[in-house]
């Protein structure tokens, strides 16, 4: 049962108040029509799935509705870092 402190509303939000949004920092190529099939497939489907630190997108869906980024250890479930969506994770 993950608890995250939402960087927008400052509240501790329980897992049931949150929505998980997959891996963070996935870049959608700016010029889709110019992107190769390989690049677009990479963007759509390929994820790192690490054992250890994982960068994730979460939404405070039950609260203030904002998306933010989280670094989470996939083994211990420790939350290493939480940042607003405009920032990059350093953990």
């Amino acid at each position: 049962m993950i608890v995250l402190n939402c960087p927008y509303c400052g509240q501790d939000r329980h897992e049931e108040e949150l929505t998980y949004g997959g891996e963070a920092e996935i870049i959608r190529p700016l010029e889709p029509e110019e992107a190769s099939d390989e690049l677009w497939t990479e963007y759509l489907y390929f994820r790192t799935n690490p054992k250890g630190t994982h960068h994730e997108q979460w939404c405070c869906s039950g609260g203030c509705g904002q998306w933010f980024k989280v670094a989470r250890d996939t083994v211990s479930h420790d939350i290493l870092e939480v940042v607003t969506f405009d920032k990059r994770l350093s953990a």
Binding site: I2, V3, E33, D37, L44, C59, Q66, W67, D78, F85
Partner: protein, 973 residues
Amino acid sequence: MSGYRLKSGGRIDRSKPLNFTFDGRAMQGFAGDTLSSAILANGVGTIGRSFKYHRPRGIYAAGIEDPNAMLEVVDGHGREPGLRAGQVHLVEGLQARSVTGWPSPQFDLVSAATRLMSPFMTAGFYYKTLKWPNWSWYEEAVRKAAGFGAPDGTVDGRQREYRHASCDVLVIGAGPAGLAAVSSLKGSGRDVVLVDHASSAGGALRWEAAQIDGSEGMIWADKVVADCQADGGQVLLNTFVTGAYEGNYFTLIESLVDHRGLKAERIWKLRAREIIMATGAVDRPLVYQNNDRPGTFLSTSVRQFISEYGVAPGKRLAIFTNNDSGYLTALQAAAAGMATPVVIDTRSAPSAAHVEAAREKGIEVFVQSQVADVVGGRGLRAVRVVDQAGKIRTVSCDAIALTGGATPMIHLAAHRGAKPIYDEASASFVCATLPKGWHGAGAATGSRELADVLAQGHAAGQAIVATVNSAPVANVALGMGDVVPMWQAKTGSAKKMFVDLQNDVKASDVQLAAQENYISAEHLKRYSTLGMGTDQGRTSNINGLAIMAAATGREVAKVGTTTFRPPYTATRMGAIAHHRQNDGFAPRRRMPAHSDHASNGAQFEDFGWQRPDWYTKNGSDREAAVGIEMTAVRTGVGVFDASPLGKVEVVGPDARVFINKFYVSNLATLKPGRIRYSVMCHDDGIIFDDGVVACVDDNFFLAGPTSGNAETVGAWFERWRQTEWPDMAVAIAPVTSNWAAIALAGPKARDLLARLSPDFDISGEGFAHMHFREGTIGGVPARAARVSFTGELQYEIAVPARYGQALMQAALSEGADLGAVPVGMEAWLRLRLEKGYLHLGADTNGRTTPLDIGMGGVVMKKAADFIGKRALSLPYNASEGREELVGLKPVDAPIKIGGRILADGYAQIPCPSIGNVTSACDSPLAGNIAMALIEGGSKRMGEKVKIYAEGKITEAEVCSPVFVDPQNERLHA
């Protein structure tokens, strides 16, 4: 068997006798008894039969670790088929029954039969018999013989509560370690929650003789609790911590017992910053021949029965031990006035102080000795003691107390992934590293002496916050000492040595598992069912693992343990369900005119919202009513409640650019007051919603996602705005539930709309198909769209939800002479099928793209990027032969929804399939019609295909999906 109530002693209230029954026999106990202690005090020996072999079994322990004492219990609040007797508070009038013997545990018919079968019921029994020769030969007999009681089908009326909370420090266990931690935190300002499963704090102090800080142990305990409460701490008794989860989040179950029994339960969902794990330990039994006979007890439980409940488990006690704590049991038995007990000690050099204290009381001690067997079937009469030289003596006794050391209760830390490691000194598995924020103390960490336990508890408190409080000082004569393991008796048959009493797993089963190469802890568990019972192997796991270690020539540490998972102890489904039963099961959503639908005989179905499927007002059965509803729409006017349809306002200077990124159709050119239909994809090109978009003004678009996706689409817009286009000047307002909406559909829809007093021009030219208007209807603010899901002249009118009921009533009463009837979902969906309109999720699946539903032309015309566009040109999306949506007409028999289309050239199944029927119905205008997704469907017009459904193969012809009014004359009327 001869348990009895001691003349004095115990923490029971002898002034409050309580009557109860066990298997119909009237018995008496006292306030403060558990069902276990009360049954024992009444001299009952056999309380049930074992799981596989139906051997007689008796009360074995005082608490939830008892693998035998599962009973059906009826109290003043309800009946439950299988409760742990040690956990049931005795109340007046309680009825308890055995659940494992038939017709009774004393005379068990199944036992005779299973005795014949027992050679077959070894480790891997289920694995082997499910494969060979034929499970069904055994099933009936096994099912009858197995299990712990059956529910009687009545609804459990106990009250349930939930509580969400948090605290600074959660102290789990109110024994000496937990209490030392609480006393260490006194005055620290920390918000403490102290939890214990017993009805009073004190843990082992409730039955052990110990002085702390100069007073009797329980007086000290009561003072610590009172101080904690005075400090603002919360003390939860009768409460189990059932699970530990990430984020130091815990589930607790608190029981509220009144004079009639278990009245209510409360599930706590508690989050704690720091945790003190002072969960204690339970005795580990010893494994010897016939170690399951009634009259066999865990040693600490015997002390608990004597000193907490004033119950002697037998007239003369033998104690079988491999550590000093067995002597404490002997001394307590002697002090309680029971016949002088005897101690059988496996060790060669027990503590001199303990031996001397025992001999002083005349207690005979056999050192370097083991129990080889017992005498007595349903009740113990004697034990056979074998010494180092192999000499066997018979010692008469009617009860035996076992201690093979203590098993620390590390479950909760293990729930969090803490790894159990083997500790030589205590011969047990402990958690060397605890999760973040956790502090271990007491017997849960393998500690065996009270002084250490108190010091650890104090240190745990100080580790959280330093205070001036000093550590409690213990004064106790004798302790437990080191444990010298004895995992399996040297003498006797492994086939009669029980390791797991609840699942009837014997030492020989563990050895067989080893022989058959199921040697890892997890394989052993599944193959032999060791530790898989409701007691979760509390008393059996470590013995089983050690026997496995011996059988495979490994150290115990190398075998490891199985994974502990929540719940810590069996939890009532009712407590978890809370209010979520009957109508509370899922939050039902009601449309504003719900009660009007009900009074028209709506047969509601849950489509996320409670929606009428059809109306009994229109016909006595579904087919008749649906036919009338469809005909009304085609010939007069139908009134359909469309309130759940999504309404998402997209506003701002960039609203147009923004919304154009979501739909596959070009919205850049959509003029104010106009509407366009389109579909929306995920970025992989797969359709996930469809609907219409209205341009209210250049900075205001109103999207109408499907009912089921109303919230999802609003959130989808918002996510892209926040994460991909944060600089776009756009805002999203999801307003679905603010508006009630009805659709008027049919050739007389305009006549009906006119009677609802719109303040705007509704003529065919003034309000043409795919136009949007704002104004008033019936004197209230309204949004009107001329769109059609039925192929008829159709208006969708939305008014603030408070007027929804009145609008529905007005439409039906004003339209009565036009033939207006309420139309349900089924008719509505059949009407759209007649027109070949897509029903999202039925006619599309997780692979369907806009190209597959005939929207290729629309996609091609749109120059701007949209979500999903690029993926449509990926090779697998652009390839030939994909499943495409087409119509089907029957050739020989009606088409069934869900039917599989046979691949070309096949006339029989099994064969490859090239698609499936996605929608099918009988239409009053077009007969039997269907839509299907078929590989290369658009190129198969006129082809015959074979369909397999419900065991039959039928034939159909591929056609255009538009079955009614292909020229759209009705639509533009």
